[in-house]
């Protein structure tokens, strides 16, 4: 999958789950700081990514995803073009 498509889907899911406008979400935004996801919301967000990309993530891998950009990179690596 192309990085642009992954980025679009990551931002779409993030916006939906965190009640944000997609245009307000930047790649260097941290989920827990700039985007205000508390630890409980973060779990839902990971679940939403899993469903979006039809994946079952390892928990320790998922915990490493801290920013929107790192999420995009993470899924780009898992879902090569």
């Amino acid at each position: 999958m192309k990085r642009e498509e992954i980025a679009e889907r990551v931002i779409k899911v993030t916006a939906r789950e965190l009640n944000k406008s997609p245009e307000d979400i930047k790649e260097n935004d941290r989920f827990s700081y700039e985007l205000g996801a508390d630890s409980l919301k973060s779990i839902e967000l990971v679940a939403a990514f899993e469903e979006e990309f039809d994946l079952d993530l390892d928990e320790d891998e998922a915990l490493k995803i801290q920013t929107v950009g790192s999420a995009i990179d993470f899924f780009a690596e898992l879902l090569p073009e």
Partner: protein, 664 residues
Amino acid sequence: MEKYRALTAHEIDILTKNGCSADNWENLQVVENFDPSRVFFSQFSGKIFLGSFSGFMEIDGIERPCGIYHSRLHHCTIDEDVLIDRMGSAILNYHIEKDVLIENTFLLSAEKGAQFGNGVKVSILNEAGGRDVTLFNDLNAQIAYFQASFRHDSEFQQKLNSLIGKNIESQVHSHGIVESGARIRNCGTIKNVLIGVNAILEGAVKLENGTIVSCPEHPSYVGVSVVAENFIVSEGAHIDAGVTMENVFVGQATQLGNQFSAENALFFANCEGFNSEVNSIFAGPYSVTHHKSTLLIASLFSFYNAGSGSNQSNHMYKLGPVHQGIFERGCKTGSFSYVLLESHVPAFSTVIGKHLTNIDAPLLPFSYITEEKGDSRLMPAINLFSIGTVRDEAKWPARDRRKAKQKRDFIIFDVFSPYSVEKMRQGKAMLLKLYEETPREKSSIVYGGVQISRLLLRKGAKYYGFAIDRYLIGKIINKIEKAIETKASWKTIREQLVCNSASEDINKWLDLSGLLALKERIEKLMQDVKDDKTQTIGEFLEQIKIIYESFASDEWTYIYRAFAEDYGFMPDKMTPEDFMILVKRWEKAANSLNALILDDASKEFGDFSHIGFGLGFGENERRADFKAVRGESQTNAVVQKLRAEKEEIQRRAEGVMQTLESMV
């Protein structure tokens, strides 16, 4: 029985010169070596038996001679080396055993036929009655649970009441007793109270119709400004600082203080109640409430922690205060949380916020129940990786303060047990079913009165799966590791995994306020009572003890059957290859949970945790201030333990895998 004799004329003369009087000196009987010089300014009436007063007692660092001073006694037996001084009114109808101190106390009196708190009915859960528990000295958490629950079986309840009634009859005395070594100082009115061995009463205002069970290993303490009516206090309890209580049982090593008030309440081992108010509660072992503004009402708890301002409603202004709450073991309620009763909060769950719905989700343990814009939301399985849950598992057994020889409540401390794991197995299946049935367009579903995010249905099932795998496979690994130590062959290892139990309903477990037990064992016990095979409360307690001691073997039977159901192999029939696959599964589950717990613990050291540190200084000082107060993630004992656990998981998995490979 002491041999008593009449006073001699010389002794009467000395007593009279000492300012003493009696309505009839002939009614005073004394032991052979009675010393009248130890009795001053006291009045005697009715039948009086006095022991010898030759010893001394050290009080506040001053050695004082035993004897009777400035007191009025009516119908009393006073054993040797007792010190009674300055009774405001009198001691009436009491047997004071040896080495007892009673001073500066207003009244100590007992009426003939008093039951000393035995037989008092305590209305718990339903404030209006219906689940009354009868107090008696040998009450424990399990007998109280039997009384309060299982009301569907009226024959059992009738027979159990009969056993309790017989026990209570044996506690009826013609007089009160202060047992040896007790200390009663600066108290007000004490009426119809049995005071146990070495008990300490200091400054209590009013105690009426109760028993203070105490022992040398763990004396009970009733302190300043305590007012108590209709109560039984167990060994090692500590009640102090303005506690007010009525119709209450206080279990072993329970601590109550700081103006705590309790009405119709049962507290079992190691509970703590400070500042708060409770009414009609069944506080199983380790129930804790420390804060003002907390009202716990009409609910069942155990291993519970109430945040400040925790509150429940049991009165909907319709048919009265009849609604009940079940908070299964290990629950927490956050600050200013509110739960509408009836509710059934799942085990090891945390309630945050105000809930105006009736929560009913027993199959979803380890959950967070939060409030969002007035809606109640449940996040299943999230507490599995709360660092708080991990700490709880370690702290409960470590904080067992009970020192009495006989620990009355039977407690299985395990957080992960057939009880909780079976709920997770059923919860997992239910969540997956709900996930399959819920269209993707729906963001959440309603289950048990609460909303659950659709996405968390699958996630919760996954987390439950980890915990189930870690428990079931982990327990098998434990056994295999032990066998490996003896260089056993695979055949021998498999023999260690045999299960011969004939139990049928191995998936049905009950939590009897601390005691986890197979339901079929409880039903058998109840049947024995109904069939009159159990004749006394002592025998009933022995049967409960047998169930407690059967936990390990029943747990193994559960593991064996659940393992076969979940993984498709009987543990004792599987091959090394079969088990190698499961070891990998266990490693993943254990590592995943460990990573999630570690992440939760690490948040305690994250940037948000630094808020308010280094006030008025820069970033460096802020971090240094935090480090000085809270330490660092790298050196924190809990975090280090979790990191070590991660290494241990890998070491164990590799060790077992190597052995299994050699057996292929």
